[in-house]
């Protein structure tokens, strides 16, 4: 079940919301317990709907982490010497399902290729959301070990944190510390419902009306044999914008749902395409993942407070892992390393030079580098990378087909390009700066959002292209 589907929108969400709001009328401890119970049951049902068998896996992982958390806390309290080894063991145990289900085929294929052996592939299906919930669980264990949070003694609350459906399958990566208090006490109100719904519908529109349609363009390109450089560059732009609108749309929907249910989830994207360097891009793109790797991998490895050589090594390790987190294939590893190399070069070699260039030029260079990165990301394995990149600089410059699709998708490209910048927010701020504008926005908002919801429904009912891009994550 995906957020951008009829089943979620017209069945799961209203039922859960109505039951949740009904039990929210009960005050005090009973009210909170019931609200948590409703959300936990809804979340488990949500996961069961998509992964009936792997629900047991997730419950098993939650049970193991709950037990390991209690033991780790005990070892911390008693200042036991076993604390370190046990912490390492608990991290390893948490990572085992991720490694087995996500990376086993990839690793065995690599071993088979390198050593000429024929180890059979397990061929296990990847449980949806495993990368997200594994990283969330790790944040719980690591922060517990570092004394940043208290152990969760209630298994239902830990289960709710891990399985919370708004952020379960596509993020953002919510650290336990960020919702620790809200698991015990949080506000539910019609004001929050409205604010959350607004964010949710905007996210839904980003996904359904922009990302999916750009995905349609990408399918056309992939199915074309005529190609041409213009078509290839349009494809690079379409892939980049599709990934942004899809992923940030999902994050908006998750944040909106969290708000409706009384949680405050961290922001995940902040206009990444206005950046003027790769460093800045990663401060704006998938911020919860970047922050996770920074705090739990990069800094513990010494960050930049080590020798230059080791620093470079740290960067490449972190970015290699970042790439592999997105998918168990060589193109994802290369994608991560590509950014690792670019960031290293920016920090060590051309960062200062870049700052001296005019802003527009810096932006253009960065955007081209980002578009190339997403072509690597979007490729089918290593061979696909060469095909995608070669198309940018070879073949006919312009073909009739590319001109047709530029004409056809031109308005969408313009909307997407403008929507990826702070311009719409700036315009809204301008309108709201006057009393009349403010009144107009207040009155028009519910109508516009309801209209967007109906329009999204129309696109979904028509069975338009509606991919779920996170099945590899």
């Amino acid at each position: 079940m995906v957020f951008s589907g009829i089943t979620f929108l017209y069945y799961f969400l209203p039922v859960v919301l109505i039951v949740y709001l009904a039990v929210s009328m009960l005050r005090g401890r009973v009210g909170l317990e019931l609200r948590n119970a409703v959300l936990l049951l809804a979340s488990l049902f949500f996961y069961f709907w998509g992964e009936p068998v792997y629900l047991l896996l997730m419950l098993g992982v939650i049970g193991a982490v709950y037990g390991m958390g209690l033991i780790l806390d005990r070892l911390i309290q008693t200042e036991s010497r076993l604390r370190g080894p046990f912490f390492a063991l608990s991290v390893a145990v948490t990572l085992i399902p991720l490694i087995v289900f996500k990376y086993a085929d990839f690793l065995i294929r690599a071993v088979n290729s390198w050593f000429g052996v024929q180890v059979p592939l397990p061929g296990l299906a990847l449980p949806v959301g495993i990368s997200f919930y594994t990283f969330q669980i790790l944040s719980y264990l690591i922060d517990l070990n570092w004394g940043r949070i208290r152990v969760q003694k209630r298994p239902d609350r830990l289960a709710l944190y891990v399985s919370l459906f708004p952020q379960l399958i596509a993020g953002p990566i919510v650290r336990y510390a960020e919702v620790e208090k809200e698991l015990k006490e949080r506000e539910t109100s019609l004001t929050r419902l409205s604010a959350g719904m607004e964010r949710f519908v905007i996210g839904l529109a980003k996904k359904v009306l922009i990302a999916n349609v750009l995905g349609d363009f990408c399918s056309v390109y992939r199915g074309s044999t005529e190609g041409g450089m213009l078509f290839a560059w349009l494809y690079a732009a379409a892939v980049s914008l599709q990934l942004y609108f899809d992923f940030s749309g999902y994050s908006d929907m998750a944040i909106g749902l969290g708000t409706m249910f009384g949680f405050t989830f961290p922001e995940n994207f902040r206009y990444p395409f206005i950046c003027r360097s790769i460093t800045e891009f990663w401060r704006r793109w998938h911020m919860t993942l970047g922050g996770w790797f920074r705090d739990y991998v990069y800094i513990p490895m010494g960050g930049n407070r080590v020798s230059k050589l080791r620093w470079m090594g740290n960067l490449l390790v972190v970015w290699g892992l970042t790439g592999l987190w997105h998918g168990a294939d060589w193109n994802f590893l290369l994608w991560g390393l590509y950014f690792g190399v670019l960031l290293t070069c920016e920090k060590l070699f051309w960062g200062k030079l870049l700052e001296k260039l005019p802003s527009v030029l810096r932006w253009m260079i960065t955007i081209v580098l980002i578009m190339v990165s997403f072509l690597i990301f979007d490729s089918e394995g290593i061979s696909g990378i060469g095909t995608n990149l070669k198309a940018l600089v070879s073949g006919k410059a312009v073909t009739a087909e590319s001109l047709y699709y530029l004409r056809s998708y031109g308005v969408l490209f313009a909307i997407a390009a403008a929507g990826a910048t702070p311009v719409p927010a700036w315009c809204m701020k301008k309108i709201r700066s006057s009393a009349i504008g403010e009144q107009l926005v207040i009155l028009a908002r519910p109508v516009v959002l309801a209209g967007l919801l109906i329009l999204c429904t129309a696109f979904l009912v028509d069975g338009s292209f509606n991919p779920f891009l996170y099945f590899r994550f």
């Binding site: 017209y10 009936p52 004001t191 719904m197 087909e401 031109g410 969408l412 979904l460």
Partner: protein, 374 residues
């Protein structure tokens, strides 16, 4: 308090919409087919344990709920309107509008498809009817007249013609572009209009040396309003309905069609299709729609000449105009019958010294995508 209500209105309105949609759908009976889309709609799946555990029940449920959503056609029209008029897309799911017609983008020339087609008809000619006078007539897609002049991508027809002309072996070839124009096709459909192709029938009959060319002035036009073609359904845009016209003369009225698969008989115009709930296409009145093997006999025939036609759906509306010139026409649709077994069902040698003529009658889209021919 008023301010609060305004603040809450977004949440309340959206939740009401979502809940209302759910209740509406629960209360609305499921539909069996979507006439506009010409397809069966998914029905509620059975919740067997195996289906639930494999996840297929969930997938089928999502598909069912999407198919049966209330006001499906209105939502499809809203999407199409936004697609064309707001996003300014040139086509919607491959359907474009030009010169008052809906057309469908066909993509590039598929040379391997054309080669496969040539191999198929050359092999049939050599193995099944080497003695017959054999003809290949190619019907241009409506795109031929609409796409390129209106800036839409289209296939390279000239290359297709030359490939066919050079590739046929013992088969006379002609393409019919000079006999047709865009308005000879339905505005909302892929097919040509029967009342606009009498000149095509006459030209083909003359080309094949047929006798008793029909006198079209003696034919009567019968009109059925309310035809919405397949492109109308796919485009989901408001377009006016059209008339289906079928031409009747003595031969067409007396001719009997034997449907070999079901061993049933009908006339060349099967008006029962108009009231058959299983039929979603009014164009099916011509020869009862898609069928693997049909034999049309003409009791009013003035000669004993026979014709065998390998055809697609364009043939359905053309053949009734040609029956007057033959005593028997056998129709073969290779999309539904394997060419390897044809010898068992069709007499390619004819009766006595009357060796039947053979006509391959295909439109360019089938030739370009000929792998569907068995």
């Amino acid at each position: 308090m008023k301010k609060k209500w305004i603040e809450w209105s977004t949440g309340i309105l959206c939740v009401a919409l979502l809940t209302g949609g759910m209740i509406w759908q629960i209360l609305t009976p499921d539909e069996a087919i979507s006439k506009a889309e010409r397809r069966k709609l998914d029905q509620m799946p059975k919740a067997a344990a195996e289906a639930v555990l494999s996840g297929s029940f969930m997938t089928d449920t999502e598909s069912w709920l999407q198919d049966q959503f209330p006001m499906r056609q209105s939502f499809r029209q809203l999407k199409a309107w936004t697609w064309y008029h707001v996003l300014q897309m040139q086509d919607n799911q491959g359907i474009y509008l030009a010169d008052g017609h809906a057309g469908k983008l066909t993509g590039e020339l598929n040379e391997s498809g054309v080669t496969y087609f040539l191999n198929k008809i050359n092999t049939l000619k050599t193995t099944l009817f080497p003695q017959s006078d054999t003809y290949l007539a190619v019907i241009p897609s409506k795109n031929y007249y609409l796409a390129a002049p209106n800036g839409y991508p289209d296939m390279d027809y000239e290359t297709m013609w030359s490939m066919l002309e050079e590739g046929v072996n013992g088969i006379e070839f002609r393409e019919l572009t000079n006999l047709l124009e865009a308005d000879d096709y339905y505005r909302t459909d892929i097919h040509w209009r029967q009342e606009a192709i009498t000149d095509v029938a006459e030209s083909l009959l003359t080309w094949m040396g047929a006798e008793n060319i029909p006198d079209w002035s003696s034919y009567e036009e019968n009109r059925i309003p309310g035809f919405y073609g397949s492109y109308y359904g796919q485009a989901a845009l408001p377009m006016e309905g059209e008339e289906i016209v079928y031409l009747t003369g003595t031969a067409a009225e007396q001719a009997v069609v034997l449907h070999m698969e079901t061993n049933t008989k009908t006339g060349v115009y099967d008006l029962a299709k108009l009231t058959d709930p299983r039929s979603v296409d009014m164009y099916d009145i011509y020869l009862s729609g898609a069928d693997a093997l049909q034999v049309i006999t003409n009791p009013a025939a003035k000669n004993r000449k026979e014709l065998i036609v390998f055809r697609d759906s364009f043939g359905s509306s053309l053949i009734p105009l040609m029956i007057e010139s033959y005593s028997k026409i056998t129709l073969i649709d290779l999309r539904y019958v394997n060419s390897a077994v044809l010898g068992q069902y069709v007499n390619f040698k004819g009766m006595g010294r009357n060796v039947p003529d053979v006509l391959f009658l295909y439109n360019t889209e089938i030739i370009n995508d000929s792998f569907i021919l068995k």
